[in-house]
């Protein structure tokens, strides 16, 4: 028996046994909430996250191994990689989901209003795809601002 084995098995057990088991519970909660017309997305995402604990850890390991272990920039680079992943991988996927939801809202609606929910979904999809562009734009404004007001 060793502390290392115990700690490793505790982590494996909680991440690969308990969390995936709880997934079914959260999906059931999501369905029940959906049936009552309540917000179900949190329970749905919770269930998905329960299944992805190992995958998330592998992703973070990948971010933290972009540089050598003794490189002083390793933490900064890992945060940059994380932000890059959120901005350029997760957000475009979310944009696709928003487009689908916008299309669904458009198809199921009786009338087309410009203030309808489909508009919000399409706008959100566009914003999701523009995260990097907005950051570059803000950087551009700040850089121009260093010259002072003319």
């Amino acid at each position: 028996m060793s502390f290392y084995n115990g700690f490793l098995n505790l982590t494996n057990w909680s991440g690969n046994v308990i969390l995936p088991t709880l997934t079914g519970l959260f999906f059931a909660v999501a369905i029940l909430r959906f049936s009552k017309g309540q917000s179900y997305s949190h329970a749905l995402y919770s269930g998905l996250m329960c299944l992805m604990a190992s995958g998330l850890l592998r992703a973070l390991e990948k971010f933290a191994s972009q540089r050598a272990w003794n490189d002083p920039d390793v933490y900064w680079v890992s945060i940059v990689s994380f932000v890059d992943w959120v901005g350029n991988v997760l957000m475009p996927i979310y944009a696709a989901m928003e487009v689908a939801m916008g299309g669904l809202a458009l198809a199921t609606g009786e009338r087309i209003h410009f203030a309808g929910s489909w508009m919000r979904h399409f706008l959100a999809a566009g914003l999701c795809l523009l995260v990097s562009g907005f950051v570059r734009l803000a950087e551009f404004f700040v850089q121009r601002g260093t010259g002072g007001v003319t």
Binding site: M1, S14, M49, A53, L56, W69, D73, S78
Partner: protein, 221 residues
């Protein structure tokens, strides 16, 4: 003037009891780990660190005494066994008590109590992780002791060598596993609608402890 035999024997007894004292320190460190666990965080620099430090000091007591030579003080360690029978018996009894009673039996019972405590903690709405971690630490005390002994270089820097090796082990072996636990905690926080990003940042930090150390060194230089 020759050192009296009784004094030599007392010194021998104390030196031979050092590993037993290290075992006691390790058990007290495990108990401190439970007492000082504040939720999902653990206090570094409190009772746990103090008892681990003394455990290392007791394990490396003889090499540590070499420092007195550099101060100009001769420390002739008496070799051989203990000639005074009652002192030899005392040393043997204490070592036997620590090995058979504390290390083989008491630690297991304490760990079992910690597990029960974890369940009761959960029942009262308190974090149960400190009790589970302390139980794991107590159950692995024998292996931890062997690990610490293996890091003993036997030189006058032995204490620091063991402490450095312990830091490397913590940063390179235990912390990456703790990152997994942090991700599990982040998922639980997401479920309970509590802040998640802090634990994600902590998981990244736990995966790059050595890099952060070199970053601090770079900042200081």
């Amino acid at each position: 003037m020759a050192t009296p035999q009784l004094l030599n024997d007392v010194i021998n007894v104390l030196l031979m009891l050092a590993p037993a004292a290290a075992v006691v320190c390790l058990v007290l460190a495990g108990v401190s780990l439970r007492k000082e666990g504040g939720g999902i965080t653990f206090v570094l620099g409190g009772g746990f660190s103090k008892w681990m430090f003394w455990c290392v000091v007791f394990l490396t007591l003889q090499p540590l005494l070499m420092w007195f030579r550099s101060f100009g003080l001769a420390v002739p360690l008496p070799g051989g066994g203990i000639s005074t029978s009652w002192l030899a018996l005392l040393e043997s009894d204490i070592t036997n008590f620590v090995n058979s009673f504390i290390l083989r039996r008491l630690i297991t019972t304490l760990a079992a109590y910690m597990v029960l405590r974890a369940v009761l903690d959960a029942a009262s709405g308190e974090p149960f992780l400190p009790s589970v971690i302390a139980a794991l630490f107590l159950l692995g005390a024998q292996t931890t002791l062997t690990l610490l002994s293996n890091w003993n270089s036997g030189t006058q820097y032995a204490t620091l060598d063991v402490l450095n090796s312990a830091w490397n082990y913590l940063a390179g072996t235990i912390m990456p596993i703790a990152a997994g636990l942090a991700i599990v905690g982040a998922v639980f926080n997401l479920i309970a609608q509590r802040p998640t990003m802090r634990l994600v940042a902590v998981a990244l930090a736990l995966l790059s402890v050595s890099g952060i150390w070199y970053l601090v060194v770079d900042m200081a230089s």
